[in-house]
C-alpha cells in the first residue's frame, strides 16, 4: 500500500518537475512565430515603427524594400544580442544595443546603395532611420536580451516578416487607390523578371490622391487594424450578441 502511494507521489513529483522545466524553457518556436506574424504583429498590434510605416508605403515596391531591409537588420541584431547577452551589462545595455544596431544599419544601407540605387533613392532617409525603428530596439530589449539565439532569431524573423507583410499590404492598397498601379518599380527591386508583376489597374480619373498622402496612410492603417480586431473578436462578439438583452436603445 505504502509502496503504491510512494510511486504515485513520485510520478506526480516528476510531472511537476517536468512542467517547471517546460516553463523555464520559454515559449515554443511555433507560438513565437504566431505571435510575430499575427497575435502581436508589430505593425497592427504593437503599433511600432509608425514613421516608416506611413512614410514609405506609398508604393508596394518601396514598402517591400524597406520591409526586407528591416527584417534583415532585426534578425541580425537579435541574433548578435542574444549571443552576447551574458556579456552585456544590464546598466549599459541600451547604448550597446544602439551601437550594434547602428553598425548593422550602416552595413545594410551601403549594401542597398551599391546594389539597388533606385530603391535607395526611393527610401531616402528612412533607410538609415531603421536605426531608430522601435521594432528592432523592442525585440532586442523584450526578447533577444533574455532568450537563446535560436528562439531570438525565429522571433526576430517572424516579427520582421509580420512587419513587412503589413508594409506590403498597406503599400499595395495605397498604391492601387492612389495611383492606380500595382507593384510599379518591382523590377528594380527584384530583378528584370518582376516586370510582369507591374500592372496598371485603374484609370487616372478613378484614383484618389488622398490615399498616397499621409492622411490616407492613417485611414488605411486604421482600417487594417479594425479589420484585424474584427476577425479576432468575431467569436466573442457572437457570444456577446446572444447574451445581450434586447432593449429599445436609442
Amino acid at each position: 500500500m505504502s509502496d503504491f502511494k510512494e510511486t504515485v507521489e513520485g510520478t506526480l513529483h516528476a510531472e511537476r518537475n517536468e512542467k517547471l522545466k517546460k516553463v523555464k524553457k520559454g515559449p515554443s518556436l511555433l507560438s513565437i512565430v504566431a505571435k510575430g506574424l499575427w497575435k502581436e504583429n508589430p505593425g497592427l498590434c504593437q503599433l511600432l515603427g509608425m514613421c516608416p510605416l506611413l512614410a514609405v508605403t506609398t508604393t508596394a515596391a518601396s514598402a517591400l524594400g524597406l520591409g526586407i531591409a528591416t527584417t534583415l537588420v532585426v534578425v541580425l541584431s537579435s541574433l548578435i544580442i542574444s549571443l552576447l547577452r551574458h556579456f552585456i551589462l544590464r546598466e549599459v545595455r541600451i547604448p550597446i544595443y544602439v551601437a550594434l544596431i547602428a553598425t548593422l544599419v550602416t552595413v545594410v544601407r551601403f549594401e542597398v546603395e551599391a546594389y539597388f540605387p533606385a530603391l535607395y533613392d526611393q527610401l531616402g532617409i528612412y533607410l538609415s532611420l531603421i536605426v531608430t525603428n522601435c521594432i528592432i530596439m523592442g525585440r532586442a530589449e523584450a526578447f533577444a536580451g533574455r532568450n537563446g539565439p535560436l528562439s531570438s532569431a525565429v522571433d526576430a524573423l517572424s516579427c520582421g516578416i509580420g512587419f513587412s507583410l503589413v508594409l506590403f499590404v498597406l503599400g499595395s492598397i495605397r498604391e492601387i487607390l492612389g495611383s492606380g498601379t500595382f507593384f510599379m518599380g518591382a523590377s528594380e527591386l527584384l530583378g528584370p523578371w518582376a516586370q510582369a508583376l507591374e500592372v496598371h489597374l485603374l484609370n487616372e480619373s478613378a484614383t484618389y490622391l488622398i490615399a498616397i498622402l499621409p492622411p490616407g496612410g492613417f485611414f488605411i492603417l486604421a482600417m487594417l487594424i479594425a479589420f484585424k480586431n474584427a476577425l479576432e473578436l468575431r467569436s466573442k462578439n457572437k457570444q456577446d450578441k446572444k447574451l445581450r438583452i434586447k432593449a429599445r436603445q436609442i
Binding site: S205, A206, Y208, L209, L213, F219, K241, R244, Q249
Partner: protein
C-alpha cells in the same frame, strides 16, 4: 455624485444642472434645417441648373443607405435609424458645396467618407468630432483636384433652361463633357466676364500668389456674372433667419462669424490690397454665407456653451480669412471649420460656467 469644482471641470462642456426640458427633438431640428435649405436650393437651381438635384439625390440616397447599414452593423434599432434625418442633412449640405457637375462616383465616395469614416466610426450621431459635410468636401478637394475644378459651372440667370435634367444627368452619370453645358450657360449672358478659373476665388488664385490682387477688376454684384452670388447670399440668410426664429441656432454665431470675416477681410484689404479681396467679396464668394448659417452652427461639432459657440464662430472666421489669403486652395471655409472643430473641446473647457451652488466667493459657504 457630489458636485465639486473638480467634477464640474470634468464635465467637458456639458452644462451643470439644473436642466430644462425642451420639446425640440433631434429629428425635428434636422427637418427644420432641411426646410431652411430650400431657398438656397431654389436659388442654386435657378442660376446653376438642375445638376444640384442629381447631386442631392445621389448624396442623400448614399447617406441614407450607409446610415442604415452602419446601424445594422452596430445592432442598433433600425426603425430609429430609418427615421434619422441627420445623414440627409449632411448630404444636403455636401451637395450644395461640391461642384454641380461632379461625376457620380466622386459624390458617392465623398458621402461615404463623410458618413462612415467621419461620423459613424467616431460613434454616430452626436459623437463625431469633425463636421462630416466639410470633411467630405476636403476629401474631394484633396483626392481629385483636377476633376473638382473642371466641373464647376458659372452662374447665369435662368440657367436651368440650358442645364436641363437630361443634359446634367448625361454629364454626371455618362461622363459627357461638362464644357458643353458651361459654354451654353456662358452664352446666356449678354457680355460675359470670362473668369480664368472655375470659380471667382479659384480664378484669383494666381493673382493672389503673385501679389497682384489689386489689378483684378472690381466685381459688380448687380451684373449678370455676379448677381447669382448676391441672390444666393440672400436666400441663405432667409433660411438662416428661419432657423434663428425657431431657436435652432444662436443668432450670435452667424453674426460674430460674418462680422469677423467682414472686418478682418476689410482690414486686410485696406492694409494690403495686393493680397486680399474686399470685405464684400470675402462675404459673398465661396462658402462664407453657407458656413455662417449652416456649417459652423452644427450642434454636434461646435462648442457646448453659448459663450464658447460665439468664440468658436470668431475663431473660424479668423482662420477663414487667414487661410483664404495665404492658403494654397481657393476656398477655406472647410479647412477653417475643421480646425475650429478640433479646438472646440478646449473652448468648452475654457468657457465653462460656474455650476449653481458652488464657488460664490472666496472663503464663502461652498
Amino acid at each position: 455624485m457630489q458636485i465639486t469644482v473638480q467634477s464640474a471641470k470634468q464635465n467637458l462642456g456639458i452644462e451643470a444642472a439644473p436642466h430644462l426640458h425642451a420639446p425640440m427633438t433631434t429629428q425635428k431640428i434636422m427637418l427644420y434645417v432641411l426646410i431652411a435649405l430650400i431657398p438656397a436650393y431654389g436659388t442654386v437651381i435657378y442660376f446653376f441648373g438642375f445638376a444640384l438635384i442629381w447631386q442631392f439625390l445621389l448624396c442623400a440616397l448614399t447617406a441614407y443607405i450607409l446610415e442604415l447599414i452602419c446601424a445594422a452593423l452596430r445592432s442598433k434599432n433600425l426603425k430609429l435609424a430609418a427615421k434619422d434625418l441627420s445623414g440627409i442633412v449632411t448630404a444636403a449640405i455636401l451637395a450644395l458645396t461640391i461642384p454641380p457637375l461632379l461625376p457620380w462616383h466622386l459624390s458617392i465616395a465623398a458621402t461615404f467618407f463623410a458618413i462612415v469614416i467621419v461620423k459613424q466610426v467616431f460613434g454616430g450621431l452626436g459623437m463625431n468630432i469633425f463636421n462630416p459635410a466639410m470633411a467630405g468636401f476636403i476629401f474631394l478637394v484633396i483626392s481629385a483636384p483636377g476633376v473638382f475644378y473642371s466641373t464647376w459651372l458659372t452662374p447665369a440667370p435662368a440657367a436651368l433652361k440650358v442645364a436641363t435634367i437630361d443634359k446634367t444627368a448625361g454629364v454626371i452619370f455618362m461622363g459627357d463633357n461638362p464644357k458643353v453645358i458651361y459654354d451654353e450657360i456662358v452664352s446666356l449672358k449678354e457680355n460675359p466676364d470670362v473668369l480664368t478659373g472655375a470659380t471667382f476665388l479659384e480664378s484669383i488664385k494666381t493673382a493672389r500668389k503673385a501679389g497682384t490682387v489689386n489689378e483684378i477688376k472690381t466685381t459688380n454684384f448687380t451684373s449678370d456674372d455676379y448677381f447669382a452670388y448676391l441672390c444666393l447670399a440672400i436666400a441663405i440668410t432667409v433660411g438662416g433667419l428661419f432657423l434663428i426664429i425657431f431657436k435652432i441656432i444662436l443668432f450670435q454665431m452667424p453674426l460674430a462669424f460674418l462680422l469677423t470675416v467682414g472686418s478682418l477681410g476689410g482690414l486686410w484689404h485696406f492694409l494690403d490690397p495686393t493680397a486680399s479681396i474686399s470685405a464684400l467679396e470675402h462675404l459673398l464668394f465661396g462658402g462664407t454665407m453657407l458656413g455662417a448659417f449652416f456649417i459652423i452652427t452644427d450642434p454636434v461639432t461646435n462648442c457646448g456653451t453659448s459663450k464658447g459657440r460665439i468664440l468658436f464662430a470668431i475663431l473660424s472666421g479668423c482662420l477663414l480669412i487667414l487661410i483664404r489669403i495665404n492658403g494654397s486652395y481657393s476656398d477655406s471655409v472647410a479647412f477653417a471649420v475643421m480646425l475650429s472643430n478640433a479646438a472646440a473641446p478646449l473652448i468648452d473647457v475654457l468657457t465653462r460656467r460656474r455650476p449653481f451652488g458652488i464657488g460664490y466667493r472666496k472663503g464663502g459657504l461652498d
